[in-house]
Symmetry: C4
Subunit: 195 residues, 4 copies
């Protein structure tokens, strides 16, 4: 089976997730700056989650660029990833509304952790089930970022109960790490093309 419908469905789900998060920013009733202020936390956590969902979409885009065929296992590994991403609006809203207090910050990290594990499972399933496996493995290389991120999320979950702002900093730092252009897939495809 081709990947087009799986990509279209994932695009749809991710597009909705990234957009409904903004609905957690409730419109204030007054019109003064003072009334906008309590929304700062919600806005900052929205920006952070927007970037994270953007990173996932980006990586998903690259991942399926080297995948040619879809198996039943890939379909479910993909749905599993979408499940954890679908919890972003909830944890984003909860963390933002409570201005980065302990438990919401830890739960945010937990969802990030589970999403990163789900992404890793999806990658492994594709690498095992399809002929794209070799290309994918050469593209990923040591997959340094993919291995470091869950560790950083684990640290952040721990720090949430001591200094939640350290956790917030770790979330931002991990996001920035992923924002650095990643040319692994392009390089692997070029290598393949030049063979």
């Amino acid at each position: 089976m081709k990947t087009s419908r799986l990509e279209a469905f994932s695009d749809g789900v991710i597009a909705i997730i990234i957009t409904i998060m903004v609905l957690e920013m409730k419109i204030p009733h007054g019109t003064t700056l003072a009334e906008l202020k309590p929304l700062t936390g919600t806005f900052l956590s929205y920006v952070l989650s927007f970037i994270y969902v953007g990173i996932y979409w980006n990586n998903h885009h690259h991942l399926f660029h080297v995948t040619k065929r879809v198996t039943g296992g890939i379909l479910w590994a993909n749905l599993h990833l979408l499940f954890w991403l679908s919890l972003f609006p909830f944890v984003t809203g909860w963390m933002g509304e409570n201005h980065f207090t302990a438990l919401p910050v830890a739960l945010y990290g937990f969802v990030l952790l589970m999403a990163s594990i789900a992404y890793w499972v999806l990658q492994s399933t594709i690498s095992r089930d399809t002929k794209a496996g070799e290309l994918l493995r050469s593209a990923l290389g040591k997959d340094f970022k993919g291995k470091l991120s869950p560790l950083l999320y684990l640290c952040a979950i721990g720090f949430a109960f001591l200094q939640p702002w350290v956790s917030a900093f770790l979330y931002v730092a991990t996001a920035l790490m992923w924002l650095i252009p990643d040319r692994r897939y392009e390089r692997a495809l070029e290598v393949e093309a030049s063979d």
Copy 2:
């Protein structure tokens, strides 16, 4: 007519259904574990419905993989299926918020029942209206799961008024039954290809 636009539209509707269900998990105002606890029911019913909608998307994906042409009848049979799926967020939220009490559990089963009937109607319409009929029929075989599921939902509706947890168990069991990899379509396509 080709199936691509019908698939894109269905993907869109199913993607929205699977994502807005999470909106029923209202963000709690406090930040303690005690305040997360009342959400357990909503979360569990969300997970269950996510899996069900995922199963429907999966089956829809397989079904239209062997369908080449769309008729007016197929368009409406497909919209009929989407209608019942669109009621998932409502019944999921109601069942979850009330911690699996009788009537919400029965209504959840009723929507599952109607969706399974709508899926069966869609299958039959495709099998009758298109040349894919033969391929589809050979792929479905005796369609054991398709015939057993409505019966299980009917049982669950009955049990809802006696022991709602039995119904919940039946919903989970039926979902698991569908999660077992189903290679009917792959096999039928391989048989066709080898002819």
Copy 3:
């Protein structure tokens, strides 16, 4: 320009409209049948609107099936149609919540009327701007349904202030009229193919 992106965007908007209408059915807090009863109006108006949006999607699907090229005028005529369709969730919820009283019923008819005019404008723009004009005109023929519907909506708006149930009957009757299979496009395409 090709029609694919316009179709994908319209599919997305229509898929969201048809799905968020269900959010107007607020989950009741109790679990008795008595608490579901006030939702009857909302449910019935949801079913009606689901069918109407389904009809529009169906007709849109057929219309762009004979359209090969998109112009700036078509883009905006299409957005104009989507605008009126986007008001469906609002008028559906208002009419349903108030159990089909005068003003909500009239406003519902007004949005139906404007949508049917917008559809007619879109049809005319395509027929004028593209080479598909001739094929489209032969497919539409006298466009009996397209001309009768706005008149029926006008009648229904009038009746809303006398006997709103007559209006509701007219809305249902008009929807049923459109549900009758419409083979104009198929026939026109067959005629063209056989030439």
Copy 4:
């Protein structure tokens, strides 16, 4: 990499933005004209934002029509644009609910300003990163509208604190300016084709 998935994802996000804005029009509880009246502001700001999002979709459609390849930079420039567009429902609702008072009107202008800058960044990234650069530059010409719009938004932000209705007028005027058919891309493509 091809542009198709980026276009599909953007279509999804824009379709959701344009549709969920209507959710800010809360259904009134009564059924009299008097109860609809407070919604006038919300409705007018909805119409304005619908047109703006429509313009952005239109321009996006044209822009990617001359873009053949997607780079990492383009992916993120596109997400940056979508981020600012995703704030439309919030500022539209706030401005509408408060009947065009100072701060909401200014914030609306700020989001318009940032979206226009984000669009300009996207354009520049495409023009720099891809071979379509030359075609795009010749299509844009002096990009008069693209340069004038941010200035008009800046003026409108200033006026918001003096005479918000002047700002509203500027928003409407800028939108109308973009509605005037823009044949730059068509012309550039024709020139290219005739070479």
